[in-house]
Symmetry: C2
Subunit: 319 residues, 2 copies
DNA sequence: TTGTATGCGTTATCAA
DNA sequence: TTGATAACGCATACAA
């Protein structure tokens, strides 16, 4: 492996001059530039980027923390981040955590050690406190409502969104409403539960714990949900389903089992994935790719910003 | 940012001693070790990993090249790679290429520059020649049949697989058989086309170009396929669909449009995703997560191996 | 058991 | 326009 020193020797110039032509800096005569370029070609030289990083103190790499890279929600978010990263000549380091705090820590550790310049946390299991302790090591941006914290964020107001969806169902005459969610913890989930409680209180409806079904992530979870519901003495008449995948699974199950939608069960999905359009599922449109783009831009920006993303209820055939 | 030198000064020892306690090397007295540890704590010290990389010439990072991270096939593969990487204390750098050669080059460049130790190419657009030129810079492993090349590989024999599926359909009486695929180029696609031609020849069936439908990746592409087919004068009676997602889209479309499956149209999907089970789709099981694991292990291994993965046809209701 | 000195490959500073 | 030389932060051969 030839290095910059070798090149200097071969081209009969100083390492500085070599570095200059390598980085397109001015102040180098055409003659010497040619000599260096020739040496580069002859030796099949390549920069050792680690040395560059060490010297510059930056890596042009960003960590992306997410629980499941095979879930449409996160893979779309990731797509948005990845596309923007590419445009800006950044590389991504992926941390697929399965919501294990230890794996989230790895990203923060890399930030500490300066192997990545910033971290985008799409979703987390760790305490905020843990995250906060790493704020001094580099930029951290999150995908949840954190307007009072010292971080940038791109987020959906899930409280507002949930309330809107619930009121929509209520206006259609549904009162026994449940919802399906990925997990019960997490700030976004808590916001939704809060909205759910407030809604129930407002309309004097009774809060039914079993109407909240968690662990709903993939298409196949739709079947699970339906089996649970069919085992209930007083099953819900409508469901908010925080992933179109799961909504599609539910709709498919209902089709196969002759459960009429929306008459027997109304469904509102989330994300507005293509599958929702195809299966005519009423859903909440969330611009995930745009959010990814925003997250990336915040990750490389000097400023601290909080970007609330607007959603839209798309009425189709399931509610 | 305090460094190893500062620590040495504070703890009143040499940098070597500091390095020793940092890396748990022997030969350091308890007394000095304590002093160093105290200094580390007091200063909130962190290693600069870039310096470590430069010094060691390794990064414990592996590049993963794939076209679409939001496609179930690749996200499952990625999941398998990611899980194994975690176990082995490796980090992944993701290259989502959209099949742009330029983006694949970025991974190879990083290999050249020693920012990653190896590259896993899940699928590629670049010429093999281009890849080959980078073989000297680090390990490259691929996910296609490359047994005669100088690389490790984990692959499915798509020729054999396709032939098996085609014969299966033939044995059920289908003769007008088409197939849906992501793209027509790529060695895996070519192997399948070859199998298709050979099959057609063997049984004296006429090769119909329009029976090969490409650009089939996602659920929503199922609708596109069906519209194409319905526009044909002599539509196929059976389809091999190289992604369960697309197969599910087709099946859903057929349900909605009262096309009987498998009577009017038989479907065989690929991958055996959960959606295939739920929708009762006959499919070819491919152990994607296991393949991901294998790819990773090959990427970090000294040896060169070629690992053919076995598939299995799972008969359900669509063929 | 400890420390000195050097190498890793670049970039940046400053003098010429 | 050029080049010596000092960072950058760590690991390690070698000497003590």
């Amino acid at each position: 492996m030839t290095n910059i020193k070798d090149l200097a020797k071969i081209a009969r110039v100083s390492v500085t001059t070599v570095s200059r032509v390598l980085n397109n800096h001015p102040y180098v005569s055409e003659e010497k530039r040619m000599a260096v370029l020739k040496a580069i070609k002859d030796t099949n030289y390549n920069k050792n980027i680690n040395a560059v990083h060490l010297s510059k103190g930056k890596t042009l790499m960003i960590g992306v923390v997410l629980p499941y890279s095979d879930h449409p929600y996160f893979s779309l978010l990731l797509k948005g981040i990845a596309n923007e990263a590419l445009k800006n000549n950044y590389k991504l380091v992926l941390f697929q955590t399965d919501y294990l705090e230890q794996r989230e820590m790895e990203a923060l550790e890399m930030l500490k050690q300066k192997q990545i310049d910033s971290v985008i946390i799409c979703s987390r299991a760790s305490d905020w406190k843990t995250i906060e302790e790493h704020l001094s090591f580099g930029k951290i941006v999150v995908c949840e409502n954190m307007t009072e914290r010292h971080v940038s964020s791109t987020y959906v107001d899930h409280y507002k969104t949930f309330l809107e969806a619930l009121e929509f169902l209520f206006s259609k005459g549904y009162e026994k409403i449940g919802y399906c969610i990925g997990r019960k913890t997490g700030s976004n989930s808590l916001a939704r539960e809060c909205a759910y409680r407030d809604f129930m209180n407002k309309h004097n409806l009774s809060y039914t714990a079993e109407y909240i079904i968690d662990d709903c992530l993939y298409f196949e979870d739709g079947e699970k949900v339906m089996k649970k519901i069919r085992g209930m003495v007083e099953p819900p008449e409508a469901l908010l389903v925080t992933s179109d995948q799961v909504a599609a699974g539910i709709v498919t199950y209902c089709h196969n089992n002759h459960i009429a939608i929306p008459d027997e069960l109304a469904i509102i999905g989330f994300d507005n994935e293509p599958i929702a359009k195809l299966m005519n599922i009423t859903t909440i449109h969330i611009p995930l790719e745009d959010m990814g783009k925003s997250l990336f831009l915040q990750a490389v920006s000097k400023e601290r910003t909080n970007n609330e993303v607007m959603i839209k209820l798309i009425e189709r055939g399931t509610a």
